[in-house]
Point group: C2
Chain length 239, copies 2
DNA sequence: CGCCTAGTATGGTCAGACCACACTGTCGAG
DNA sequence: CTCGACAGTGTGGTCTGACCATACTAGGCG
């Protein structure tokens, strides 16, 4: 009727599998950690080819909902996991590449989410173990002998940990996915250790300041430092 | 040689296509609106089977980056589009179904994004055509004869439009995806028109209040009304 | 000139095969 | 009896080749 452009989008075979799995997830008969039936089994129960089943599994894979492994035994096959950030970030990254999601908007959104998380975290009960873990991460990052790869990894853990303190899984996932989606751009812009070395010094100091503010339950200050931290970093490496 | 958990994750064949397309997107040799080469062509140029190429195209499809159509001619094949919200929302929806992203967190995140957008919008130049369009949408929603489906559609357009006023594509996309990801839950909780009718009355009034505040450039008031609007709606239908 | 039909290129689906891998149970050596 | 080697089995990953429905294209026919 309305589709002059042929936007019909007929029912795809793999959608049956996706819908079935989503329904089982909602019903609770399928839970994180469970193994999905084998591809050959699913193809038979749904009356579609194995290729179509594989489409569905593959989609769940990139969404960060399953992890697949070959072989036999309990760890093989498609296992339900929960990694929303991975799925969201890959989608975001491609859209950023298409120039329809500006990097500046990503950074701005990330600032929004992280500063909110910092403020919200101070309005909740302090999670001491998490704070201790954060301090431990900063200590590890203070090691001068750390290579860039390891620093990035610890830095990611630090920021994710802070977001987690706010207790909102969606905000954490989105914040992490925003971070991952533009990580490639950061890598490309800073290529030499000579450029990198002074940056690390500043990052360390900023991290400590943010954590101190959070420990003192000063959400406003933590948010402000966080904003300056992120803005400074992208001003430094961004262009 | 390999680790015991088997988390090896060997290089997948389809990733070559994905990487190639992402690179072309970044380089600018591939743009929104362009057609991708045919699957048979891609399978030959990358030296992989058509099945693996299809995996990559399928992934781009669910990400909201391409639209595929059968047939021949300019409108057929895989065409690059930009629909980040579609890709993000499908991922979010599945993760919500898995119980690892609470609906409450989704709502909270949406409030955060929308209230920020409202505030940010008043700090920018007013986009009169958009405001006019928003008023038009509200007028259409005032029609008592409107069915629920149409109301939902207009409501979605209204909220997306407001987010757009802030000028941040990422925030808009995320806000819309959050909205889409939990639309199914709203539908399930409100089944009869008897329940729905009074709700619509309140929604209309709230919408007008929000738009009035925005028109008056009162970002704080708009944000507050928006928060109450969303919170009220999910308190009403949520449980 | 205009309508209709055969042709062609496209994605959608299927069937069947082979591979590498990882666990599992068995069997044999000690 | 213990324990290591090994064949067996089930898993996803990939490929090949085929057929279908569709939608545009070009040519033939009236």
């Amino acid at each position: 009727m309305t589709d002059k452009t042929g936007q019909a989008a007929g029912p795809r075979a793999y959608e049956a599998v996706l819908a079935s799995i989503e329904a089982e997830l909602r019903a609770g008969t399928l839970r994180i950690g469970d193994r999905l039936p084998g591809e050959r089994t699913l193809s038979e129960t749904h009356g579609i080819s194995r290729a179509s089943v594989r489409d569905a599994i593959r989609i769940l894979d990139v969404m960060g909902l399953v992890r697949t492994a070959v072989g036999s035994g309990p760890n093989s096959g498609a296992v339900l996991i929960s990694n929303p950030a991975a799925g969201l970030s890959s989608t975001l990254r491609l859209h950023v590449a298409s120039r329809h999601l500006p990097v500046d908007d990503i950074v701005q959104a990330r600032i929004l989410l992280e500063t909110w998380a910092a403020t919200a975290a101070t309005e909740r009960a302090i999670d001491e173990p998490s704070l201790a873990r954060a301090r431990e991460l900063l200590s590890l990052m203070d090691d001068p002998g750390l290579d860039r790869e390891a620093f990035h990894d610890l830095d990611a853990q630090f920021h994710v940990l802070l977001s987690t303190l706010a207790g909102n899984a969606v905000v954490s996932a989105m914040m992490e996915s925003l971070r991952l989606s533009i990580m490639g751009y950061v890598r490309d812009s800073v290529t030499t250790d000579e450029q990198w070395s002074p940056v690390v010094q500043t990052l360390r100091a900023q991290h400590h300041g943010i954590l101190d503010a959070l420990s003192a339950r000063d959400g406003t200050l933590a948010a402000q430092l966080l904003r300056e931290h992120i803005e400074w970093f992208f001003a430094e490496t961004g262009h």
